[in-house]
Symmetry: C2
Subunit: 303 residues, 2 copies
């Protein structure tokens, strides 16, 4: 089985205290599809300008990403320019040029309908709803979102939440979306909509997985050098859903495993700019970090 990934393809110009890149490949669909490619066959849906189409196809072919749903439009690829200061937790956006992304209308190709999971990366919730309409037969629908959409389209996000099985969302964005100060009350509000699983991303503090009646807290991988946090959340989602896609049906134990695989993938990504590290790793390295993560929070020996 395999995974449909819908999201942005961007050229990111990023500056951090540890260096910078200019017009390097980024975007939620890019990170999520490359990350998931270590577990399953990702099928991307997105738009690229004709300025970078061939280069992007070349990049994705290295990871065997299916690109039938990737369209090229006349014009420039979506560009984002941002900076991370010392604490590396919040990006400061200097410039956003939507370019060909402004008119993006995702269309799921016929050949993708056999995929068992669809991931709605960080795009407008109205586009996410549009993809959901095209994905009725998909077993698991998962979505990510961010503060920009929470501020501008909260009603649409709640519609998305009610129509997906899995939601990925940052800690502070969860509080914002739910208008709560307490994260557990916020989680309860989201789960009350019918959502099956909620994954709250806490950056260097790991992730918390909530189901209706269980919670699992996974730590972040302890890194001494973080170069660029861009795409960490999408690499998490890619690893998480890539693993699940090949290990259906879902149960809580598999979701816990998925959390640790997602965490491992995010950790590789932030050690370098753009997708540089994500092209260099292998399954052996991933398994090593997965096992390290298991040890980091193992309570099996103190039961």
């Amino acid at each position: 089985m395999s995974l449909t990934v819908v999201g942005s393809v961007a050229l990111d110009s990023v500056k951090t205290p540890y260096g910078s890149v200019e017009k390097a490949f980024g975007g939620s669909a890019t990170y999520a599809s490359i990350s998931s490619s270590y577990f399953t066959t990702p099928h991307i849906v997105g738009v690229v300008g004709n300025d970078y189409y061939n280069k992007f196809l070349e990049l994705l072919s290295k990871r065997n990403v299916v690109t039938d749903g990737l369209i090229s439009e006349n014009g420039e690829t979506f560009q984002w320019e941002g900076e991370y200061k010392d604490d590396m937790n919040d990006a400061i956006t200097h410039d956003t040029r939507l370019n060909v992304f402004a008119n993006f209308k995702p269309v799921i190709p016929e050949g993708y309908h056999k995929n068992n999971i669809v991931f709605l990366g960080n795009i407008s919730p109205s586009l996410q709803l549009d993809v959901l309409k095209q994905s009725k037969q998909v077993k698991i629908k998962a979505a990510d979102t961010m503060n920009f959409w929470i501020s501008n389209s909260p009603k649409e996000i709640w519609k998305v939440v009610k129509n997906v099985n899995i939601l990925f969302v940052n800690h502070h964005e969860t509080l914002m979306l739910c208008e709560e100060q307490n994260i557990n009350r916020a989680a309860a509000k989201l789960l009350a909509t019918g959502l099956d699983y909620l994954i709250i991303k806490k950056g260097e503090f790991g992730v918390t997985l909530y189901s209706k009646n269980q919670i699992f807290c996974a730590p972040a991988y302890p890194l001494s050098n973080v170069m660029d946090p861009t795409g960490a959340g999408d690499c998490f989602a890619g690893g998480f859903l890539g693993y699940l896609s090949e290990n259906m049906p879902v149960d809580f134990k598999k979701l816990k495993k998925a959390c640790l695989y997602g965490t491992a993938m995010a950790s590789f990504n932030i050690e370098n700019f753009s997708v540089n590290n994500m092209l260099k790793i292998n399954r052996e390295k991933i398994e090593k970090r997965y096992n390290d993560l298991i040890r980091l929070c193992d309570t099996g020996d103190i039961k």
Copy 2:
């Protein structure tokens, strides 16, 4: 065996979005000794004004705290007035009146010298060093500190770090003390001084325990209602060291257990103002939360 607790005794006036208290018992020695009393016999060292001496003795007698090292001075007890706004993570100090605490010179009574652990609560690092001189024969020396001392007496804190076995410190204060942006590099700096164990407290994100070659990440207990976070760190330290004191010698497995007991104690404390909740609990309730915490991060089933 048992525990010596040195620290402040205060009358706290605290306001949070969920209520307020006036001149309620607080202070690092108060919270740590009451918390540890569920595991061992705490021996307190501190100073109280004659305005509240009898009331305080009465309070501690409920938890069988040994008070030979508690002195009463003519004058008023140390008073702190603070407030927590919505996010409940940072206290805003409105007023601090040291009163009798201004001239506090901790003296460890002869009868405390059999105790196997000494906890240096949040007092000036020069006083902590003074207690360490009086505690040469104690097996385990543990200290806590905070931003005020890091800003004002960083050299003295590093001396404390070099002379204790266990350090408890908040996430942001660790970065501040080590002049680092990355928590794992900061932890490595602290451990390089010869410190055996470092416990980084991350509030609602749990704690991380570091030894020279192992890390354990413990989640916070997931509460939907936090009323007053004052004293959480001291209740953590009290539970942690109280458990260890009765379970010597120390190994990493016992330190992991200590982390979860400390976490359980902190969780009870923040559900109510002052030490209100800490007087109402029992070992059964503690064990229940301990077992919940084990399940929260258990990876034994996905190895």
